[in-house]
Symmetry: C4
């Protein structure tokens, strides 16, 4: 791995780390403080997640594109934005980073580093929700990145804020985040047995939106195919 | 319908679909979690709707203008922004998309696909609220799109967040959304018998603001009459 | 009054109308729904006000500068941004618009058009809060408008969201809004007897910040003295 | 101290003053109104702080860079952005401004000007949280300022909103703010004995992120080393 690849790997690792730390950590804080009021806990969890996501894409986007999400990397590879070899590196970084993020959240709150979640999230409504959530996420990414890439961080953060509430699954919409959250028996956890269905639906939703946008907004082919976000370094 | 028209139709359909899914879905989630605290439920519903709207206009605006609202399309046609033939296509897409969005929200939450709302929203205060809400919405759209179109998504999202709270009707401000919400017997529903009054007031408010802005900000005539938002494709 | 002056008058009237309607209306809605939870009611009132303010400055700013506030117009006149004759017109429009906004909010919620507030807001801590709130508001306006005027709507909206909570008076920071709120015996009202102290402190805070910024950021003298926000029409 | 230095000193003083007034004041208001609901109180405190921070960086950033934080100034000095002599001036201004901000917040709420906090915030989880919080803050600042400095105010505000919830310490992430909050026996206070550990962790986190970004995003060396934010005055 050369220096440029190592930087992209580090950016995806750190971004996903902070994203999962934000999701899991804010869930723990919200549950502790909300005294059983689930709406208030989810509202705090939502605002923290959306704000973190926007800040992290702004921070690491110029280095790696700011995917933090294997479904996004998969979609970018489908469009020849990243090579499949690079996509494999990105996905490894995301899964490792997400896992590290859950551990760091637990450490910050004085909990055991890893705890397997017992939070059941199963059934067709949950799985369908993940398909819709990730389909919508990739619509937002492709729509914004083809027209005006600088809006992506704000649009993605806003979309996830909404999707936490309008899907029955609270929109994981991210395989690396789903895996990481299975290691946290807290507010935002998911039972490991339910993860594969989520991941399957997420990749399906991402692929569907990507294929749709080939027809809906073909402009990218001409002028901006390789980038999700503007990048600083050509190194 | 040629390819460009089909894309615009699809963008209006999908945008309205996700908008209604966000409104109805977040209302269901908020009602389930809030334990009868209506202020908290409406706050979650508000934040989800405003965030979704900003993200969706950023996503689909470059393709179709991001109307998602027959009152907006009507106003744009009054200003010769879209032809009346295209306006009819847009409105069809919006009504179909909104209906589909309500159905998808119900499916995500494991509810029957359609349920007729019993939520009474009648009386002159409610109807006057819809007039004010839609008048204000079109002021925001005309004011921002004539001066700096890139601010429209943020301004519209912010305006709707405010209008959910400052009008007695929680600002439907959108005939397609009103129709779709009549098919959902949930937090955000509206009794079908009340819909025509809402729709009438919405078109009235939109027309009033449009006529006012012909005098208040005539600049658009010279340089930007056809666009609500910058567009990617000239195809 | 020529056509350009009439447009500016109308923009200040409408902007202040919607601002006060947002403050008063969201206060009524919040009080009705929150079941006595004042923190939740103020949070909804805060979010609605900040979002409305950002949207309204984006909407009417290009026409009139988007003051909606006699203290801002006073400060702009101190800096020769508007003439004192125009300032008098602006202040009339703001006071009339604010009053109309309170009436419209009452109509939307089925209340008597005007009701004198009994909400006591007196004492040195309240008055000092208004001085600090308006001093801060003008710091934000002068700091942002001299460096990058397009950030003003977002900065002002964000500042007011914060100031609702960090001042003891919930930051009226606006004489026209204070007068209008004295006509509303609802959540956001103020007893007429307390208004003069608020107004005095508001003009004092605005003047202090304006004089400070003459030294702190003198750049405006050279290049941008007349505008608070970019304007569309030179007519 | 020449005129330019005095302006920078004043900007850092005022910015930190308003930042601490926002943190402490909104904490007092939130505690008074929330009736013991800690999640709601922290949510109000969070939104006020994040909104204030974005507005203040937009306001004072063009004059001084908008640090308001000795850990940020320290990191900037490590990168030769400010000289160590100037860094000492900035840190003095920040500590004085933060202290003044706490006093002003107390005055606005009719409390004694200074009160020593008894709020215990100790233990390795709290200290580790501050390391993570400040590490993340400097990642955001270096990532955004090297690629697109105009995004810094929004990214920093959003990051702090998230970090209030995802760290166990509610992310002070700022030595001047930590010192100032030790003088406030209110919601947001911290026992003086716990401050040194917080400050040590904050400088450690800032240094770690700064060293990391020398490798991760070296672009700044070539083109933009001296600025955190665009500046108006070269005087």
């Amino acid at each position: 791995m050369n220096d440029s690849s190592a930087r992209k790997f580090a950016a995806e690792f750190l971004g996903t780390l902070f994203l999962v730390a934000a999701v899991v950590g804010s869930g723990i804080m919200a549950e502790r403080l909300s005294g059983g009021n689930s709406a208030l806990a989810l509202l705090a969890n939502t605002i923290a997640t959306g704000a973190a996501l926007a800040a992290l894409i702004l921070t690491f986007g110029p280095i790696s594109g700011g995917h933090f999400n294997p479904a996004v990397t998969f979609a970018d590879a489908l469009e020849d934005g990243v090579s499949w070899a690079r996509a494999a590196q990105y996905m490894s970084a995301q899964i490792l980073g997400g896992t590290a993020g859950a551990c760091i959240a637990h450490l910050m709150f004085g909990l055991p580093i890893v705890s397997i979640s017992h939070h059941v999230r199963s059934g067709p409504a949950q799985v369908f929700s993940e398909f819709v959530a990730t389909f919508g996420l990739l619509c937002v990414i492709w729509g914004c990145s083809r027209a005006c890439a600088s809006t992506v961080p704000f649009a993605v953060g806003s979309y996830i804020v909404a999707a936490y509430w309008f899907t029955a699954s609270t929109s994981f919409a991210n395989p690396a985040v789903a895996i990481a959250r299975s290691m946290s028996n807290t507010f935002s956890g998911i039972r490991p047995a339910d993860v594969p269905y989520f991941v399957f639906a997420q990749f399906g939703g991402a692929a569907a939106a990507t294929i749709l946008f080939r027809w809906l907004a073909p402009g990218i082919e001409a002028n901006a195919k390789e980038v999700v976000l503007p990048r600083v370094h050509s190194a």
